[in-house]
Structure formats: C-alpha cells, structure tokens
C-alpha cells in the first residue's frame, strides 16, 4: 500500500531524512519509534505534503502512485490522513461545519456524490458516540478551547468520518491520560481493516499496548535502522534508545 524509497529530505539546508526506506502493506499497522530528532515527525509531514520540506530524492508511493507531486488536499482525497500531534484551532468554524466541508471536498474530488445531511449526521454522531465526544462539542469552533485529550479524540473522529486508506498517527498518545489513551486506541482499533493501513509514530511503548502493531521500525538519523515484530517495541522499552543515540553521535 505505502512504499517509501530512498527518501532524502531537508529543511533549511538541514538534512533530516537520509535515504529512508519503508513499506507498509494492506491492513498492516506499522509502528515507528525512535529517539527525539530522528526524523519521525518530518516523515509524517512529508507524507502529508507540508510545505517547507525539500525532497531531494526518493519516492512515496501510495498504491503505486507517487504522491510527492500532489497537493496536500489531493493526497487527502487519495485516502491519506494525518492525525496531528498538535491539532490546529479554527476559530469561528463550528466543528460540524468543518467536518462536512472536509468530507464533501474529498468526495467531490473523487467524483462522488455529496452525502445527504441525515447520512452525514448519522456518521458523525456514530463516531462521536464511540469516542465519547459530547454532541455539544460538535457545535463549538473546531479545537478552540478543547483539552489536549479532546483534540486527539477529535482527530480520530475525523479519521473515522473520512475513512482513509492510509492513516499516519503522529504521537497521538502525547498528552493523553490513561482514559483518553484507551478511548483513542479503541477508536483506532475499530478502524483497523484489511484495506486500511496505519503508520503509528510514537516515542513510547505504552501506546502500542493498546494499538498492537504488526511491525515495528526504529528510526535514527533519518533512516529506518531496525525492523521487527511487536516484540521489538518491548525490547526498546527495556533497553532505551541509547544504542541508537550512540549511532547518532558517531
């Protein structure tokens, strides 16, 4: 499903990704772990198409198509979703309004009919219930005055609504208390499907107790330096990132 080949990226002349290779198959949940500064968040932004990152080499293929030339909204319509580490606030725009605009924009881009309002409401309310999001919150301006946990749940709600093919979760566990972590994880797990894959970026093992990955990749110095099964995360939890930091210093 997602194939990254020899990705080299810099920002303001600083090399962040150094020939990164990564493959995530259909239905797979892949975790990316690594010390601070290893390039994890850069990877998520480059996949989603944020400006300011200069791609010097390599490809990112989604279902065989290179998405690096596509605008962020085109990538979204192609089924790419990024759950932000720090979701943005949009003052004055009701969450409901935003959700509908986003969903319809994607559907339109794919040449699909707009959803009828009752259909749309049903989907939103269904997802909101699962994520324990109060309906009143949907009337409030998007993310404005939301707690950290509420913002993260709102990201997952959007994911549930937009039904992407490929989901990137950037440190979704940061700032979550244990209950919120459970709710968010259950929300993600409910979305696991044969035709949907996840790239779960995290610093800590604890998220992976809830969202159990199929594969774990360790990043260091802008490259994947080690890959394995879910047990690799446990090893890291025990040994820490020292080994990988040492490589960095070298």
């Amino acid at each position: 499903m997602l194939e990254i080949k020899n990705l080299v990226v810099q920002i303001e002349d600083k090399r962040i990704l150094n020939g990164l290779d990564l493959t995530v198959n259909d239905g797979e949940v892949a975790a990316i772990m690594g010390p601070n500064g290893s390039g994890k968040s850069t990877l998520s932004y480059v996949i989603a198409g944020k400006a300011d990152y200069e791609v010097l080499d390599g490809e990112v293929l989604l279902d065989g198509e290179n998405i690096l030339e596509m605008a962020p909204d085109e990538r979204a319509a192609a089924g790419l979703f990024l759950a932000f580490q720090y979701p943005l606030e949009i003052p004055g725009v009701a969450t409901m309004t935003f959700l509908k605009a986003a969903l319809n924009a994607q559907r339109k881009a794919r040449g699909e009919e707009e959803l009828s309002t009752p259909d749309f409401m049903r989907r939103v309310y269904g997802a909101a219930e699962q994520l324990e999001i109060d309906r009143d919150m949907l009337k409030r301006a998007l993310n404005v005055g939301f707690s950290g946990g509420e913002k993260k749940r709102m990201e997952i709600l959007q994911m549930a609504l937009l039904q992407p093919r490929f989901c990137v979760l950037d440190e979704t566990d940061s700032g979550l208390d244990i209950d919120a972590l459970r709710i968010v994880s259950e929300g993600v797990n409910a979305l696991r499907a044969e035709n949907r894959s996840f790239l779960v970026i995290t610093h800590y093992q604890r998220l992976l107790n809830h969202i159990v990955p199929d594969t774990v990749h360790v990043m260091s110095q802008g490259r994947v330096v080690k890959s394995g099964g879910k047990e690799l995360a446990l090893e890291l939890e025990a040994s820490g990132y020292a080994e990988y930091r040492a490589t960095e210093a070298a």
């Binding site: 949009i90 003052p91 924009a105």
Partner: protein
C-alpha cells in the same frame, strides 16, 4: 453550513483577479463645468429645481468649505485631490422618469449586469413578500429609478430620491437635513453639503414596521466625477426600518472621489438597521486607480429607547475613511456597530465608529473585524465617550484583526473618554494571522487552499455576518472570499 459551501462554490465559479463590476456604461451625460464655484452650485440646485432655502444652505456650506482644510490625521496617504479638476454633477441626459420604459436602456442594462432588479415584476419573481427589496438606483449624480414606491406609500412609508423629497416633502427634509451631520461638521461633509446631488430619503411614520427591506444602489460611472450622495432616514416613534446600501464603480486608472453623508434619526422606541456592502473599485495591484471614499455616516438616537445599528462590509475603495457613529441622546437608547473591513493589494482603510453616550442607561456595542492581505493597511479607529449625564452608560468593544501574509498591517486606535463614574467601557482587541499551519491542517482534511482560506476567514467574521440580513450575508461572504483570492503568496 450551506452558506460556507455556497461561498466556496461561487468563488470557484468566478473569474479570478477580476473586479467584476469594473465595466463602463457608454451613455450621453450632462455635466456641470469642471471645478467648483458658486455658479456650479447654482447650476446643481437649479437642475434639481430646489427651493431657495436649499440653495442658500448649499452656498453657506460652500463658503465654509473654502475656509476648511482637508483632514490629515487618518493613517492614509494619497496624492492631493485636485478639487478644481473634478466634475461635481453628472447625469444621464435622458430625464429620470416616471416609468422604467423612459429610462435609457443602457442604464437598465448596467443594473441588470450588476444584478440589481429595477423591474418590480422581476424583483418579485419567486420571492416571498417579506423578502422583497425596494431599490433606489443612483447613477453618478442622480437617482434613475426607485422601485415599489407605490406599495410602500400604502404603508405610509416615504422612499424616494432626496431631490424629489425636497420638492414633495420640503418640511420634512428641512427639519432633519443637517440635524445629525451639521453643515460645518468636517471638510468632506461640508463639501457634500454644498454639492450633494442625490441619494435616498426615507421616512417611516409612527408605529410602522417598514414592510420590506429598502436599499440604495450607488454606481459611479463617469470619469473625473465625484459622487456626493446624501441619505436621510427618519424613523418616527415606534417604527422600524432595515436599509441596505451597495456600491460599485468602473475600473479606471485614475482615482475617483466619493464623499457621501448619511444621516439617521430614530425617535422614541424606533429602530434603524443600516447595512452597507461597499465594493467600490479598489484600484489595481500596483495601487493605480480606485475610489477615494471619504464618508460621514452618523445616526442620532434622538428618542428614548431608540436603537441604531450599523453593519458594514467593506471590501472596496483605494482609500476608506469612514466612521459610522451613533449619538445616544435618548435615555435607554442603543447603538451598534458591526464591521468587516477587508483590504488587499495597496488598499488603505481607516475606519471605525464613534459611540457618544449622552443619555442615561445607554448601551453600545462595537464588533470590528479587520482582514488585511497583500500590502494593504487596515486601521480601526474608534471613540467611545460618556457625557457627565450619561449615568450607567455601557460599551463593549471587540476589535479583531487578521493578517494574511507578512506585508500588510493592522492597527487599532481606540479613544475612550468618560466623564461619568458609573460608565462601564470594555475593550478587547486581538491580532492574529492565518498561519500556514492552519491552512495545511485544512488541506490535509481535503479542503483546497482557497476553500481553506474562505473557511478560516468566514469563521473569523462569523459574528458580524450573522448581523446581516440573510440574503446579504451570502453576498457578503462571497465578496470577502473574492477580495482575498490569491492573497496568500
């Protein structure tokens, strides 16, 4: 929700980079000679067949004006206006007429192109009675048509060009004209008093709720011509009226002067809601051309518990100098000012309001949203004052500025004067920027860049848009989006 979608759809459908009202109408015009003199004023007055007192009033204003200086305190800069090179009167040669059939077809076409219904039949099609709008269309210096006059007259409402009102209701005009904005008020208002040509006159009798929205549509067409309209609205005791004003002008390389005066009078328990969508030609990206908009708008809440509400959406003009104000004279009167000022390119906006609390228990509310893009400068200038007799005066002011890009400027200049210890004035101000992060976030969810910006801007101005009549709000939303197209580099 649907409104946002509609904005987006409409923006898409419209040609980018086009001030779409920039076309010119070719038509035979009758003009005064260039420049200003007592003779020109006599000419204008004679053209309109005015009573003698009106001519004297004008001449008095003119003599005053000669002694006055153009104000320089606003944060705007422009080449000196050559008042001797302007035409102060320009009117289509064909006489403005009793029926539409007598109007020059070119003018009818112009308003058709602008989407302003001058034929009552068309205006009625598919529109519920409560949503009807009566229109007074002012073309350069004269009113060319006023619709629904007869129907309004049944309710006792007078809605006609002010030049006509001077002949038909001289006592009303004489009583109220200049009673809110005195002849000596300021340089531009005094100039207007000397040369004003047309504009609308509205009188709502006691206890009458005006049965439809009233509106005036101003169009500047002729080159080198100033437009000096004068609007006077009187809401007698216990009456209500909602009035809309729209403006456009052709795209030209030279600047055109627009110096209007609007006076509102609300007597006991009366309410006036005055909305403006100002879309004068703003000039091109290099700052060539565009309208110089120097306007004095003031409402007098003369009666107890009266209310005046200004709502404005300002997207046009090269220079905007405009402070719609309320004099809260009657006890318990209320003033409101809701404003969205969008500036792009090289536009300069210096706009705001004055809330003058004179009576007891008077309240006012100011919500101002400035959006600056391109290399434009956008200043909010507001005065809130409480007279020593204004016990329990209350004001709430909120000024927010949104910057798009890093070459524009937003400024807030609040003046607060309180001579009464019981007055409570609150002021809030914020400046924010549409961040690349916000845009990226929206795009990541599937919204195109223009859609994302429209959504964010609409969110920013939402509480002001809500004050506009429904139909108008959609127009305004569309207009804002168009004005900002391509504004993020």
């Amino acid at each position: 929700m649907p409104a946002v979608q509609e904005t987006i759809d409409r923006v898409r459908a419209i040609d980018v980079d086009q001030y779409k009202y920039g076309f010119e109408t070719t038509i035979e015009m009758e003009k005064s000679e260039r420049g200003l003199s007592e003779d020109v004023i006599r000419f204008i007055s004679a053209k309109k067949d005015e009573p003698e007192w009106m001519l004297e009033w004008r001449l008095d204003a003119y003599r005053r004006w000669l002694t006055m200086k153009e104000p320089e305190w606003a944060r705007v800069s422009y080449d000196k206006i050559d008042y001797d090179n302007l035409y102060y009167y320009a009117a289509p040669k064909r006489k403005a007429a009793q029926s539409l059939d007598e109007i020059d077809p070119e003018i009818l076409k112009t308003y058709e192109k602008l989407g302003i219904p001058l034929r009552e039949v068309e205006a009625l099609e598919g529109i519920a009675p409560q949503n009807r709008v009566a229109v007074d269309a002012v073309f350069d210096s004269v009113s060319v048509a006023t619709t629904f006059k007869a129907e309004l007259a049944k309710a006792g409402v007078i809605f006609m060009p002010i030049s006509e009102a001077l002949r038909e209701h001289p006592e009303l005009v004489r009583k109220y004209l200049g009673s809110v904005v005195p002849v000596t008020d300021n340089f531009f208002a005094t100039l207007n008093s000397a040369v004003f040509s047309d504009g609308s006159f509205v009188y709502i009798p006691p206890g009458v709720r005006c049965p439809m929205e009233l509106s005036t549509y101003f169009r500047i067409n002729e080159r080198d011509t100033g437009q000096f309209e004068r609007t006077l609205i009187i809401a007698d005791k216990g009456s209500y009226v909602s009035y809309l004003e729209g403006c456009t002008a052709p795209r030209r390389d030279d600047n055109q002067l627009h110096a209007a005066v609007v006076e509102l009078v609300a007597l006991d328990d009366a309410e006036i809601k005055y909305s403006t969508v100002q879309n004068w030609y703003p000039g091109d990206a290099q700052g060539r051309g565009g309208i110089y908009n120097f306007v004095t708008k003031r409402g007098d809440c003369r009666g107890t518990n009266s209310k005046i509400s200004w709502t404005q959406v300002e997207t046009g003009s090269a220079i905007t100098w405009k402070y719609p104000s309320c004099i809260l004279r009657g006890d318990g009167s209320q003033g409101e000012f809701y404003s969205i000022a969008v500036s792009n390119g090289m536009q300069q906006v210096d706009s705001g309001t004055k809330m003058i609390h004179l009576g007891k228990n008077t309240t006012s509310r100011i919500i101002s949203k400035g959006i600056s893009a391109g290399r434009s400068q956008n200043t909010y200038r507001g005065l809130v004052s409480a007279h020593r007799k204004a016990t329990n005066a209350r004001n709430f002011t909120n000024c927010d500025s949104l910057l798009i890009g890093d070459q524009c400027g937003a400024h807030t200049v609040p003046y607060i004067e309180s001579k009464n210890a019981t007055a409570v004035f609150e002021h809030e101000a914020t400046t924010s920027k549409i961040s690349e992060e916000q845009l990226f976030y929206c795009q990541q969810r599937g919204l195109g860049e223009e859609e994302a910006r429209a959504l964010i801007v609409n969110g920013f101005v939402r509480d002001v848009l809500q004050q506009l009549p429904m139909e108008f709000a959609v127009e305004a939303q569309k207009l804002i989006s168009i004005s900002l197209e391509g504004s993020v580099g």
